[in-house]
């Protein structure tokens, strides 16, 4: 392996921009109405990696559901262009009756890819991308948490999405597996040029991965702070620069959470 001489490839951003205007979503049950998101504005550039942090009740799941088209806004609009929006869950949500390869193949089939043999070849290619070629025939229950999340990532990539939404995808993993998956995700993001919106509770993770960190306020959810991350990649999660930024973002979150104590 020639480690030192290999050039870092130039990233081609093929992802779609995300434009969120005056977005509001409230839920009504009986006579009470709860605002999950209130008047949110957001501009995300094509191919940008945006991390979103927020305490409980910041409406992150609602936001992701709306962007993914699973839910509708009460007011305002979301524009993600014409491309496919994919969503990756914390628990992976793989179909337990299908092997890793078949999970990816189903995603390809639902995305409209014709030809069984072609789907199979492409699925193996995607599993290779997440380094799971050897585990292709295993079922989800035979995989570790980290492996399941990688299959889940391959399944999302199979949709050939221009926007990839990630809902705390590494939240349930141990620290070491998470570190490795950060490297993997960064590599895949570099290779595919997809736009990523990454929700996490882990501020360091946000500082490790994001081009930008957005802090959401809770009840109702809205953007209260924005931190551009101009540290060079690849970053290390334990580096002093990442830690310093994480501390700054954590302070911001703390202030927001304390505000609710006085409610």
């Amino acid at each position: 392996m020639t480690v030192a001489s290999a050039p870092v490839p130039t990233r081609v951003a093929t992802g779609a921009p995300i434009t969120i205007d005056h977005l509001s979503r409230s839920f009504t049950s009986g006579t009470t109405t709860v605002a999950a998101i209130s008047d949110m504005h957001l501009r995300i550039s094509p191919g940008e990696f945006v991390c979103i942090v927020g305490a409980s009740g910041c409406g992150k799941t609602t936001l992701l559901n709306i962007i993914a088209g699973l839910d509708h806004p009460t007011a305002g609009s979301v524009d993600t262009g014409t491309g496919v929006v994919s969503l990756m869950f914390q628990e992976g949500a793989l179909f337990p009756w299908l092997s890793a390869r078949e999970n990816v193949e189903l995603s390809l089939r639902l995305a409209g890819m014709k030809g069984r043999a072609d789907r199979r070849a492409r699925a193996m290619e995607l599993l290779g991308l997440v380094q799971l070629t050897d585990a292709a025939e295993r079922h989800p229950h035979e995989l570790s948490g980290g492996m399941r999340q990688r299959v889940s990532l391959a399944r999302a990539l199979a949709q050939d999405a221009s926007v990839l939404l990630m809902d705390e995808p590494f939240g349930a993993l141990d620290a070491m597996t998470r570190d490795v998956l950060h490297d993997e995700l960064e590599r895949i993001w570099t290779e595919t040029g997809v736009t990523i919106m990454f929700v996490t509770h882990n501020v360091r993770e946000a500082a490790r991965l994001g081009d930008r960190i957005l802090v959401l306020a809770s009840r109702p959810g809205r953007v209260i702070a924005e931190y551009p991350v101009d540290l060079p990649r690849p970053r290390r999660i334990e580096s002093p620069e990442v830690s310093a930024l994480a501390a700054e973002v954590t302070d911001c979150l703390r202030t927001e959470v304390r505000r609710h104590a006085d409610d």
Binding site: M1, T2, V3, A6, V8, P9, A68, L70, V84, S86, L87, F89, E91, A93, L94, F95, P96, W97, L98, L106, S107, L110, A111, G128, L129, Q131, L132, T133, D134, A135, H139, P140, H141, E142, L143, S144, G145, G146, M147, R155, Q159, M176, T177, V180, D183, E184, E186, R187, T190, E191, P234
Partner: protein
């Protein structure tokens, strides 16, 4: 380095191939492998012991002289009768008639039960209207239907099939409904994210997710079908057919106890064999999903 793929070269200073491979190896559960023979042995010996115990008990009761041996013959008499029976063509003809009815009745019940189950599970209005009705139908002893069935269809095979279907279809429908109700919402959400809607979502996600309960429903449906069929063959004697039920009834009329018991054993064995097939499907379905053992 164990893996060398094209992606390797893109980010060389961080590409943690060996770390990934190492973590995957460590995380992989190494299941203890047992040989087929020892597995077969461990499932078979309790069953064989139980059969042996039952035979011993039977012989003890015969020896006790509780009933004269022409009413309650011992196992040896019955099994030698059975051995003579299974080499006759007439016997297999009877088995054929009965099994054809069982297969036909179960097939009809399968279609009707599955369609009703699919409709009820997808529509809350239909469910409110018919949900408890299906369960009610299932709790009703199938023999109660026979007078009505005979009224409707006279003494024909249709009368028997009618009751068989009524017995099995609700169990199959309920299995499917229960399965669909218990599909994890996350999987449905994942299916929708992948672009599956309507019938595609039902076929690609909901139905496979509900399959374990559906198979349990089929297993239960078979048990109901078999019971109803036997009741039917005893009650509805169709002219010129000699099904297992007819032969059983004939043995009683002739007071031929060994023959009667031999037919009962045949009926028991057929029921168990089919049940074992459903059991094997059930285990297979569960194993691929990592449910149970």
């Amino acid at each position: 380095m164990p893996t060398t793929d094209a992606a390797q070269g893109t980010m060389p200073d961080i590409a943690p191939d060996s770390t990934v491979a190492g973590l995957d190896k460590l995380d992989t559960v190494v299941a203890p492998t047992t040989s087929r023979a020892s597995r077969l042995y461990s499932t078979l010996w309790p069953k064989l012991s139980a059969v042996a115990l039952a035979l011993v008990l039977w012989q003890v009761i015969v020896w006790s002289g509780w009933k004269p041996t022409y009413v309650l013959p011992g196992p040896t008499t019955v099994f030698s009768q059975l051995r003579e029976l299974v080499v006759t063509g007439a016997f297999w003809h009877s088995v054929g008639i009965t099994m054809r009815r069982a297969a036909l009745g179960f097939a009809i019940a399968l279609v009707i039960g599955s369609v009703i189950g699919a409709i009820v599970s997808q529509s809350s209005i239909v469910r409110r209207a018919f949900g408890s009705f299906i369960t009610g139908l299932q709790t009703m002893p199938s023999i109660v239907w026979f007078p009505f069935a005979i009224l409707l269809f006279k003494l024909t095979e249709s009368a028997i099939l009618f009751v068989v279907v009524l017995g099995a279809a609700p169990a199959i429908a309920n299995g499917l409904i229960f399965g669909v109700d218990h599909v994890p919402p996350l999987l449905v959400r994942a299916g929708r994210v992948l672009g599956a809607r309507g019938i595609t979502l039902f076929r690609s996600v909901i139905l496979p997710a509900a399959l374990p309960s559906y198979v349990s429903g089929l297993k239960q449906g078979w048990a109901f079908a078999w019971r109803s069929l036997m009741a039917g063959e005893l009650l509805v004697i169709v002219g010129n057919t000699s099904s297992l039920g007819v032969r059983l009834d004939f043995a009683r009329t002739m007071s031929d106890a060994p023959l009667l018991l031999a037919y009962m054993i045949v009926i028991l064995i057929i029921g168990l064999c089919v049940d074992a097939v459903f059991g094997a499907i059930d285990r297979r379905v569960r194993r691929t999903r990592g449910l149970g053992s």
